[in-house]
């Protein structure tokens, strides 16, 4: 049964190699890539079914006993995230095969490698492997970001690669420190050992934990480490930017995983070490994101800042690290990934229909499919800015409810609600410019734009996804409550990996 756990890593890896061989026949390559993504989706559904039975499952690569070998771990959280990435990837792939994949070389192999990295990061149970899968994900993302070329992408690409190389270096420093003081990198093993670190090494351990937090915060675009995101995502090809919507969530996932399991409430000298840093940074992220939304003059910039803003809301909830707030954070993760992807796809659809105006927020002659696109944009804007009845509203309500008893509730409520208003204003202004004011502009667009209504389908799928998330909020929330429950009681995770009670484990093999 547990052999299934490696499927979301193996499928894209094999597909990527196969796709490289097929590079001379683009049509076949498209079909294979689409089939591989669909297969990945099926495998993640299978894993999800396994995970919701409630047990944590682990898979030992090469059957080396943990903590010496490498393990992949499937619990409710990782299964949910893998399923989410499968769904997002399918919609993005449907969008990409309408032309974007032909604007450069090797789109499909890079896309599959990116999925392999993302899924690997969600499934791994080992800090060093987390680093390796981060690198797989990032290296593929460098290629995807540069897909299509052009000076703007090269400029943005240099900054993106440079900041992530720096992040990787810091990750290695953190891994080195943690290994140096605990003698292990297996997360389940670390969970038992961080509380037994010698008194002289406590400062080192805390440094390592905070360096690790810094790296994850960089991936999650937490202010002040957010500035690379709008530059990079706005320059990236639209389907790539849509797929990148889950990359920030990988950062958030890593924060949730490591700072509940290893440096959680029972982390000894480094217990709950990240929590005091997350809250102020997340509140600043909310403010900066909302101001960016208001200040944007181009739709794709607006979407980028909306993504930064949504990461702020998500991490505000994460910062409390209790069951209710984690439930809210996870619901918001699902919501913001789907809607972030949908908005990037929509901004591409709008840009491709408006000739020279592209997606600049100024009136132009009426675009093709304006009514349908306007409707989709309206729904997406409602969901993103958190107006009822879509999932953004439910997510925000859950976050506000979960933070009600926190000491900083006044700050959280004030900033979340005020920035929501700013984002609503930003999106209404964008929609007014793009759709309503354009009605008054005479003339035709040049060059004439394609008007295939079918090309709207992938964005529509993602928006339907958020609608389903709102309709099924009851069952989804119950599942996420069970997930959060599993996160705040990490003992089942530790037992699943080490296969024996942690007490017996502690006696052996401390450096």
């Amino acid at each position: 049964m547990s052999g299934w756990i490696i499927a979301p890593i193996i499928i894209p890896a094999m597909a990527a190699a196969l796709l490289l061989l097929l590079r001379r026949s683009p049509n076949l390559q498209r079909q294979v890539s689409l089939a591989a993504t669909a297969l990945l989706c099926l495998a993640s559904i299978r894993l999800f079914m396994l995970a919701i039975e409630g047990d944590v499952l682990s898979y030992r690569l090469g059957d080396w006993p943990a903590p010496f070998g490498i393990v992949l771990v499937l619990d409710r959280l990782s299964a949910t995230m893998v399923l989410l990435s499968g769904i997002l990837a399918s919609a993005v792939m449907l969008h990409a095969i309408r032309g974007w994949d032909e604007k450069g070389h090797h789109f499909h192999p890079l896309f599959q490698f990116q999925l392999m990295g993302i899924n690997g990061a969600f499934l791994t149970g080992d800090v060093f492997n987390l680093f390796v899968f981060f690198e797989v994900m990032l290296i593929a993302s460098y290629g995807l970001l540069l897909h299509g070329g052009g000076p703007r992408r090269l400029g943005a690409g240099f900054q993106y690669v440079a900041i992530n190389l720096l992040g990787s270096t810091l990750f290695l420093f953190a891994v080195g420190i943690i290994y140096g003081v605990t003698g292990t990198l297996n997360m389940a093993d670390l969970a038992g050992k961080v509380s037994q670190v010698a008194a002289g090494d406590v400062a080192l351990l805390r440094t390592g934990a905070l360096l690790l937090f810094l790296v994850f915060a960089l991936k999650a675009a937490l202010v002040p480490l957010h500035w690379w995101l709008p530059t990079a995502y706005a320059a990236a090809p639209a389907p790539v930017a849509a797929l990148f919507a889950i990359m920030t969530k990988v950062g958030a996932y890593a924060i949730i995983r490591v700072f509940t399991l290893v440096f959680g409430a029972e982390g000894g000298a480094a217990a709950s070490i990240a929590a005091p840093w997350i809250l102020p940074a997340a509140l600043a992220t909310l403010a900066i994101g909302a101001i960016g939304v208001l200040a944007s003059r181009v739709l794709v910039d607006l979407v980028c800042f909306a993504v930064v803003w949504s990461m702020g809301s998500l991490l505000v909830a994460v910062s409390l690290f209790d069951e209710r707030s984690l439930t809210a954070a996870l619901y918001y993760t699902l919501h913001s990934t789907l809607i972030g992807g949908a908005l990037f796809l929509l901004s591409d659809l709008i840009a491709s229909r408006r000739g020279r105006s592209r997606d600049d927020l100024e009136p132009s002659p009426v675009m093709a499919n304006a009514a349908v696109l306007g409707g989709l944009f309206f729904l997406a804007a409602i969901a993103m800015s958190g107006l009822p009845p879509l999932s953004g509203f439910i997510g925000k309500l859950m976050i506000l409810d979960a933070t009600r008893t926190s000491g900083a509730a006044g700050w959280i409520w004030g900033i979340v609600l005020a920035t929501s208003l700013l984002v609503i204003i930003g999106f209404s202004r964008a929609g007014t410019m793009l759709f309503w004011k354009s009605e008054a502009v005479a003339g035709t667009l040049e060059p004439p734009a394609p008007a295939r209504a079918a090309s709207l389908a992938p964005a529509a799928i993602l928006i339907v996804g958020t609608a389903l998330l709102s309709l099924g909020a009851g069952p989804v929330t119950r599942h996420l409550e069970a997930t959060a429950q599993q996160l705040v009681t990490p003992q089942s995770y530790v037992d699943a990996v080490l296969g024996r009670p942690a007490q017996a484990q502690r006696a052996t093999e401390v450096r």
């Binding site: 052009g150 240099f158 690669v161 190389l165 080195g176 290994y179 181009v298 794709v300 020279r356 997606d359």
Partner: protein
């Protein structure tokens, strides 16, 4: 030996950080390289410094060096080497296409053909 290794890591990291904060792409890349050398030595030292101890099982010895950091360093070297090659190519292409190697002046806004034009 500890002093030597520790100060080597410190000097490499300090030089790397200083260079990364420069305004042109070449010093930034050199700085990245220094920093990744620094972290490689650091990772290696995390298995404790030992002389004349094999990391794999040998018949004539009973004391071993920790093999794990060595494996980690190998992975880290491969990744950082590949990434350095990538960023050098990126910087070069960027310089050739935009005529500037400044990294602190934002993204150049050049006229592009309309079908390839990107936003902002």
């Amino acid at each position: 030996m500890e002093i030597l290794v520790a100060s080597a890591i410190g000097v490499l990291s300090a030089a790397g950080i200083y260079l990364i904060l420069r305004g042109r792409s070449f010093p930034v890349i050199i700085g990245m390289t220094f920093l990744s050398y620094g972290v490689n030595v650091f990772l290696f030292a995390m298995g404790r410094l030992a002389v004349d101890r094999p990391p794999i099982i040998a018949s004539d010895t009973t004391v071993y060096a920790d093999p794990l950091p060595q494996a980690l360093v190998l992975t880290a070297i491969v990744i950082s080497f590949g990434m350095t090659a990538l960023i050098v190519v990126l910087a070069l292409r960027g310089f050739l296409e935009t005529g500037s190697d400044r990294v602190d002046e934002g993204i150049p806004k050049l006229p592009e053909p309309v079908d390839e034009r990107l936003t902002s």
